[in-house]
Amino acid sequence: MKRYGWLAILLAFLMTGCFLSKSPEEKGKEVVHSISRSARLYTVQYNVHKVLTYQDFSSLETSFLFEKITIPIPGERKIVLPMDAVLKAYIDFSSFSDENVSVVGDHITITLPAPKIEMTSAKVDYTGEKQFLSWNRFSFTEEERESLLRKGREKVLADMKGSDIIERSQLGAYNALVPLVEAAGFRRENIVIRFDQELLDKSHNEQFLLKMIERETL
């Protein structure tokens, strides 16, 4: 009888858990960090797909007679995480002034600042995620996934150094501005749009492009 009494208490405890369990609760709380006025002309958009991969191996480390001993543990774990991102190149007009425009008779010359690159959005395909775990390894935590994604973001931006985004951005700026200047009464053959000489000199320099991307990601 005493045994059944304990069983009854245990069941009552579990039932309490059931009755106290909440109904699906969903709420959102938003924080606006900053609102700033800007003047940017986005000229080209790159949609990219990246498959992030990671694997690690485990080993026990100890020391014996002041000698460091490493014992590798068999087994591994791997993760594959696909993501899509949108990158855009833009011309920043916030520092645009009269000095950037030169009108001589019916000729107009516009000097634009160097294009910059920005990742405007990224979306992780969680349903496409794959994990490969040995029997003796733990699955990946959310923290580990997030760390992998942050590294992936850097990789995507670094990979853009091999693309023609700067050239396309210059062409896009030309295509966007010429009709505007034409509508303002200038003939197409009298319109010159040029870019910062520094950019033209260094646009193919990988170090310069990387520096520019890094500055954007900070």
Binding site: S121, R150, A176
Partner: protein, 184 residues
């Protein structure tokens, strides 16, 4: 005899558990990242002017009730940037009309320039308990996106972007020699 077997089995269980606990404590991991290059899926020329940038964070959580064990709970913080501006591809063919030193401008409506505004690589998990499926993560992402877009498109923000658009275009056309810049 049966007692002995139980003791042996219990000892083995304790040893296995201790091994797993100590392993995580003393083991070192060696990472190896297999890099797969970024694939460019599409390139599109755009002509979008951004006039207001709104950086925001969105907290989303969900509770999934369980019958016997404790509820599954999951909370994430999403980071996104809404860029308000105009897409010149939506402009009418006669969006600029000039007459001597006066110019009339008809700008397209202010809107959020990007379909997706969340940078999921910056998402942080605030709380996690229980089994969280990829579907739950996708639902929270979509919900955060809707909430952020709604907040970004407030009348105050649209008005601020519109005013800034007018100021920027006025400045640009004045530097091209127009004395009067009017907006429709």
């Amino acid at each position: 005899m049966a007692k002995k077997i139980i003791i042996i089995l219990l000892s083995i269980t304790v040893c296995v558990l201790a091994f797993f606990l100590l392993w995580e404590r003393y083991s070192k991991t060696r990472n190896e990242q297999v890099d797969i290059s970024t694939e460019i899926t599409s390139i599109k020329e755009v002509a979008e002017w951004e006039f207001l940038t709104i950086e925001m964070e969105e907290f989303e959580d969900t509770v999934i009730p369980r019958m016997i064990v404790s509820d599954d709970q999951f909370a994430r913080i999403y980071k996104g940037t809404a860029r308000l501006g105009v897409d010149m591809k939506e402009a009418a063919s006669d969006w600029l009309i000039t007459s001597q030193d006066t110019i009339w401008i008809k700008l397209p409506d202010i809107r959020i320039l990007d379909e997706d505004i969340i940078d999921d690589t910056q998402t942080r998990t605030f709380y996690e308990s229980g089994k969280i499926t990829p579907e739950i993560k996708s639902v929270l992402y979509e919900r955060a996106k809707v909430d952020m877009r709604k907040r970004a498109l407030s009348p105050e923000n649209v008005s601020a972007a519109s005013e800034n658009a007018k100021a920027q275009f006025t400045y640009m056309f004045r530097s091209m020699g127009f004395k009067t810049v009017l907006f429709e």
